[in-house]
Symmetry: C2
Subunit: 255 residues, 2 copies
């Protein structure tokens, strides 16, 4: 069959301009369309998507094209495909979040589970660094969460998170913020974290960090600055984590 046969059949799909410059593969259009639906909460986290056949029929596209779009989305961890069962919206459950976004591991290779103690949740306005990282205007309202995380019962991570207040209304009034914040973001605010970028440095502990982590001032700490992005690619969270790395390390895979 010819590649352009489907032109204009489905309104959501751009009828191939077919002029060399504006060419956009069909499967990418399908991927973007489905990603947009996902971001808009059209399907709830954990929900099953329509089958490939069904999507193909709805979108007037071949099953192979839908498959390629779904494969791309699975590679971006937006959906999960299970042979024999179906395709599901990725959930921010503990295992997934820990696996994808928590890179601290015991020196013996053991996977460790962090416990969190929230010290405060306070409204404020974005400083220059926060504004730049989150793509906000300076002085935009933000929320700041201070918490200390423990590994194996020892306080090991002191961190401060900054969130755009607009995206998380009422969050400062909540009690008992969960250990897995990304699950809360997804389930209560419809915001799924899809990707994050971290910058690491070695620094000496300041007075506050030394107190919270029960170390002496100047002790070497791993400083991790993270910006987290939503499914649509917008920055949604910025955090600074100060980690004691005695008995633990940060893992980075490169391929």
């Amino acid at each position: 069959m010819k590649g352009a046969e489907h032109a204009g059949i489905t309104p959501q799909l751009i009828a191939d301009p077919e002029g060399s410059p504006g060419f956009r593969p069909l499967y990418k259009q399908v991927r973007d369309l489905l990603t947009r639906r996902l971001a808009d909460g059209f399907w709830a986290p954990g929900a099953m998507l329509p089958s490939e056949q069904e999507l193909a029929a709805t979108l007037s596209v071949s099953q192979g094209t839908v498959r390629k779009a779904l494969d791309a989305m699975a590679a971006e961890n937006l959906i999960v495909r299970r042979q024999g069962r179906g395709t599901f919206v990725a959930q921010q459950d503990d295992e997934r979040v820990l696996f994808h976004f928590f890179r601290m591991t015991g020196d013996d290779g053991s996977h460790v589970f962090p416990e969190s103690e929230v010290e405060s949740v306070r409204p404020g306005t974005a400083g220059t660094a926060e504004a730049e990282a989150l793509g906000l205007d300076p002085d935009t309202p933000v929320l700041r969460i201070l918490r200390t995380r423990s590994l194996g019962g020892r306080p090991v991570i002191a961190e401060c998170l900054t969130l755009p207040a607009r995206l998380f209304p009422g969050l400062e009034d909540r009690r008992d913020l969960p250990n897995n914040l990304y699950g809360l973001f997804a389930d209560q605010y419809g915001i799924s974290i899809a990707r994050a970028s971290e910058r690491l440095k070695a620094v000496g502990a300041d007075r506050d960090a030394a107190r919270r982590l029960e170390l002496s001032e100047g002790a070497p700490l791993l400083a991790i600055e993270r910006t987290a992005f939503s499914v649509m690619g917008d920055p949604v969270e910025w955090r600074l984590s100060l980690c004691a790395t005695e008995g633990f390390h940060y893992v980075s895979e490169m391929r």
Copy 2:
């Protein structure tokens, strides 16, 4: 066409056992076969592979199956595909190595190019940590390379590399080891680095590191322990890098 039609046509491909347990997709067999050829130096780095059509005919497999195998290998950075030109063996040129395996960046986002000064190349025998990381028996002959790397003219990284001596004969007699060692490994020893795993910690500078990096003893340093793997997945290099992170940081992307 039926999936099993090709059974036994090509001796290199296992005639599908087709019993549920030992099932192995054709395209994975093709991928493994081509990966093996790559590791054996059947094609030189930078060389062009046969076209999809040609490979398909040779292996008695459809073009789509070859394509899927090649796509998988491209995702593993073993080959590079260029529309209109062909498929090429990945090269360990400076840009690629820097892009894939050097994660230090200037705080202003500028990509920095490290200069290396080799202090010594010495034969020895593997200690327990080295033996474990490299999958060697203790006391196996190894080579150790000590070097200091500079960013923007400032000595910033003090590192020690350990290599199995068996894989790199005569390396200790070379003069002027290049900055890009992986290029040397590939071009002179037929060993391409395909993947690496790093463990990061914050530590205080010891006397030696302090001297080499012109810092005071106890200054916080980023300690990076890397194990690098060949195309076939065997550990080939182990290194410990101590990095001063004033003005620089380590980047980690998570998706």
